[in-house]
């Protein structure tokens, strides 16, 4: 591991060469919006919100999966990026049924917060209004596909932190959806250990604890980080 220096938004910073652009920016207090990134599991570069401009590269690169290199010059907040981020959020809101006023996660939703922060005040595209079901077969947790943004954080938490491999993505394109086991109802998924890590991982109201009120929908993300840090670094700190 070697130390490198790079420039992020005109700020010279030093970092380790194994670090992603995202983690360096976070250390420096430079906020790059993310949705599919989750501390503790590997990154997949799927939501495209963290795209940044890198001098000399003609494509936009996802900060979460791009390793920093010596002398890199990164811009995280250009007009072009802001425009794309807003469109990305509009596309998400038009894709499924995000009715914040009646959502369990109202007020504690990363998607909602992101939309506020990025100044997405309305959606210019026609809503798709797809018909998606809820899965309320599990005794403690529920899944509302209408709120799912397919970030696959639950899938990664389930496979790589809990190691149960219950959650998966099925279908493709706009018909993609999260399934449990071999597309069994959650309550009948034998591999599920009911650990609730997927619920902790979910950024929206798609996964929730049954019977909890909107006010109780604070996600306990630190638990996930705590487990991963304890396991990988043998440190009992979150």
């Amino acid at each position: 591991m070697a130390a490198i220096t790079l420039t992020i938004d005109d700020k010279q910073v030093s970092a380790e060469d194994s670090q992603s652009v995202l983690s360096i920016a976070q250390e420096q207090g430079i906020a790059i919006p993310t949705l599919c990134h989750l501390e503790g599991v590997y990154d997949v570069g799927a939501c495209r919100l963290c795209l940044v401009e890198v001098a000399g590269v003609n494509k936009l690169l996802p900060a979460c999966t791009t390793k920093a290199t010596e002398g890199m010059v990164v811009r995280t907040d250009t007009e072009r990026l802001r425009k794309y981020r807003k469109i990305t959020l509009e596309l998400l809101f038009a894709e499924r049924n995000h009715v914040c006023a009646i959502c369990v996660a109202n007020g504690h939703c990363e998607l909602q917060t992101m939309a506020y922060n990025q100044g997405m005040d309305h959606v210019r595209y026609d809503y798709c209004f797809p018909k998606w079901d809820m899965d309320l077969t599990h005794e403690r947790f529920g899944m509302d596909h209408n709120r799912c943004i397919l970030c696959a954080r639950c899938v990664r938490a389930c496979w790589h932190i809990e190691g149960a491999g219950t959650k998966n993505v099925a279908g493709r394109g706009a018909r993609s959806h999260i399934i449990t086991d071999m597309f069994q109802p959650w309550g009948e998924a034998e591999s599920c250990t009911s650990c609730g890590k997927c619920v902790m991982a979910c950024p929206t109201g798609a996964l929730f604890e049954r019977g909890s009120t909107t006010g109780e929908m604070q996600r306990d993300r630190t638990t996930l980080e705590f487990i991963v840090t304890a396991r990988e670094k043998k440190q009992w700190i979150a």
Binding site: A46, L60, Y84, I87, L91, P130, A152, R172, G173
Partner: protein, 547 residues
């Protein structure tokens, strides 16, 4: 197997040639119009006429003019019979002796044939794809011998660099450079993958090559494996290509039996095995990282690159992935030298390109032309122009990732750079000709629907963006859209192109962008006045997007 054995097989095969050969196309196009019975009837007729010593009936690969199939060609005079009926078999045999055949005569001297230059398809229509001896008689596996016994891996890579060959899977990446990178990547285990997923609608070049000359792919893969230091190869073919898969299986079996695959090939220390993996026909699985996920038995979704497969591919090992047609060029390049290949084509696009010619054109089928051939030569001379007195409006290349080239640009040479300048791409070789009745908005919508259906759903811009772009195109088609919608469409095209994770999303807007560039009026004439404008009723039209 050593060189003298290889030559013996070749000589024996050549010595067994008969006075007359009836080559019958046994590729999927002709097979679908009853070519199998034609061949059977011809064989029967030969036996009945007692000409078994004089006439060979040989099943061969694609003879190119697919629209006139089943095709039969009689050597030594090269008489071409089109749309052959099984009942005509007897008369065709009689025709060899001067009788009159009850079959339509084709013209092998027409520009469709004479303007072709065959490197990739050199054996197609000549060699029996189901017999390794037939391939060996056409100098098959000589290049592999030369490479294994007389060159070192570095020299093979250098030869590929000299040739200037670029990947035929779509992006046109220099082959020598890719091979060199994999060769240099550290790792005890490496793989070679042949991408035979061919998912572009209307494209069938790779299928034809596999059906017509499967050993050429095996030889190309073995040479590539030696050059990069791999000992295991995979051919990823789609399940929709059962004949190609069947012939590959046969070819692998025969090559193994002759010691041309397996351990210690040509008594060298080089080992190489090839396995087939069958894909379920998802377009996105042609994308290299998704393809490798699929080979590993996982859900076929792309992942961000870097790391590129050359560094970390199958099971994290350095992996070389090349397209079918790319690999089919390898043995000829080794046999004739990189310089020879570099002498064909244009400055930056070397060699030839195979196209599947389809759409509103008289002669549809498979063509191979030198890079730099003007589109006009292909479409008007070789293809014979639009049928029924129609006029050509545009030529689509590159399938769902490509664009439409308008008729006024038909003098464009086909090479990577020229097509790129027109907002299209070479792509893998689908070429669809469109006539005056084609609605270009509809064309854009068709390809957008394809991309929407084939999007893997992993990243948001492609998954949700294609749905919205398709919806907007739908609205324009239905004359329900306003200038504002068109503006939204253009904005989305730019956004999806710039932000999608893999090539599918990054190129999905191309057909829309290119038709907007050359046929913008067709979009604009369908627009409604803005409801909030001077003539609107103040109520926005209610529509619902659906996937």
């Amino acid at each position: 197997m050593d060189l003298s054995e290889l030559n013996q097989i070749k000589e024996r095969e050549l010595a067994a040639r008969k006075k007359y050969t009836l080559r019958c196309c046994m590729a999927a196009g002709c097979m679908s119009s009853n070519a199998e019975s034609v061949k059977e009837e011809l064989e029967k007729a030969v036996t009945e006429a007692g000409l078994g010593q004089e006439v060979e009936v040989r099943g061969v690969g694609c003879m190119r003019l697919c629209c006139e199939g089943p095709l039969v060609q009689a050597d030594p005079d090269g008489i071409l019979f089109e749309q052959v009926d099984p009942d005509a078999a007897k008369s065709i045999i009689a025709a060899l002796k001067g009788g009159k055949a009850k079959a339509r005569l084709g013209n092998p001297q027409s520009p469709f044939f004479t303007q072709q230059k065959s490197i990739v398809l050199a054996n197609s229509g000549i060699v029996d794809p189901e017999r390794i001896e037939s391939y060996i008689a056409a100098d098959g596996y000589q290049a592999l011998y030369h490479v294994l016994r007389e060159l070192d891996p570095n020299e093979v890579v250098t030869e590929m660099v000299t040739s200037g060959l670029r990947g035929r899977g779509g992006a046109g990446f220099p082959v020598g450079l890719k091979w060199g990178t994999v060769a240099k990547s550290p790792g005890a285990k490496k793989y070679v993958v042949c991408n035979a997923d061919e998912g572009d609608p209307g494209a069938f070049m790779d299928r034809s090559v596999l059906e017509s000359d499967p050993h050429a792919i095996l030889e190309g893969m073995a040479i590539a494996a030696f050059a990069v230091g791999a000992d295991q190869g995979f051919i990823y073919a789609r399940a929709e290509y059962p004949l190609a898969i069947d012939r590959l299986k046969k070819a692998i079996k025969q090559a193994k039996a002759k010691g041309l695959l397996g351990a210690g090939i040509f008594d060298s220390p080089f080992n190489f095995t090839v396995d087939i993996r069958i894909g379920a026909g998802a377009f996105v699985c042609g994308e290299e990282t998704a393809l490798m996920m699929s080979i590993e038995g996982r859900r076929g979704t792309p992942r961000p690159r870097p790391p590129f497969p050359a560094e970390s591919g199958l099971w994290g090992c350095p992996t070389l992935i090349n397209n079918v047609e790319t690999l089919a060029n390898v043995a000829p390049i080794i046999r004739n030298g990189g310089e020879w290949f570099a002498g064909i084509g244009t400055e930056k696009s070397k060699g030839t390109k195979v196209f599947a010619l389809a759409g509103k054109i008289k002669n549809t089928g498979l063509i191979e032309v030198p890079m730099g051939t003007p589109l006009r030569t292909i479409v008007e001379e070789m293809g014979g122009g639009a049928p029924d007195g129609g006029t050509i409006k545009a030529v689509q290349t590159g399938g769902p990732s490509g664009g439409c080239i308008p008729a006024h640009s038909l003098d464009t040479p086909v090479d990577y750079e020229s097509l790129g300048k027109l907002g299209s791409i070479m792509g893998s070789g689908g070429m669809i000709v469109m006539d005056q009745d084609t609605n270009m908005v509809d064309v854009a919508r068709f390809f957008m629907e394809f991309c929407m259906d084939e999007s893997c759903g992993k990243c948001i811009p492609c998954r949700a963006g294609t749905v919205q772009m398709h919806h907007l195109l739908d609205k324009i088609m239905d004359r329900k859209a306003t200038a504002r919608d068109l503006q939204k469409l253009e904005e989305l095209c730019d956004m999806v192109k710039s932000t999608s994770l893999c090539g599918l999303g990054q190129t999905a807007p191309n057909p829309t962008l290119s038709t907007l560039r050359f046929f913008r009026n067709e979009y604009e004439e369908r627009l409604q006045p803005d409801v909030f404008g001077p003539r609107g009723n103040g109520k926005p039209a209610k529509t619902k997007a659906s996937a």
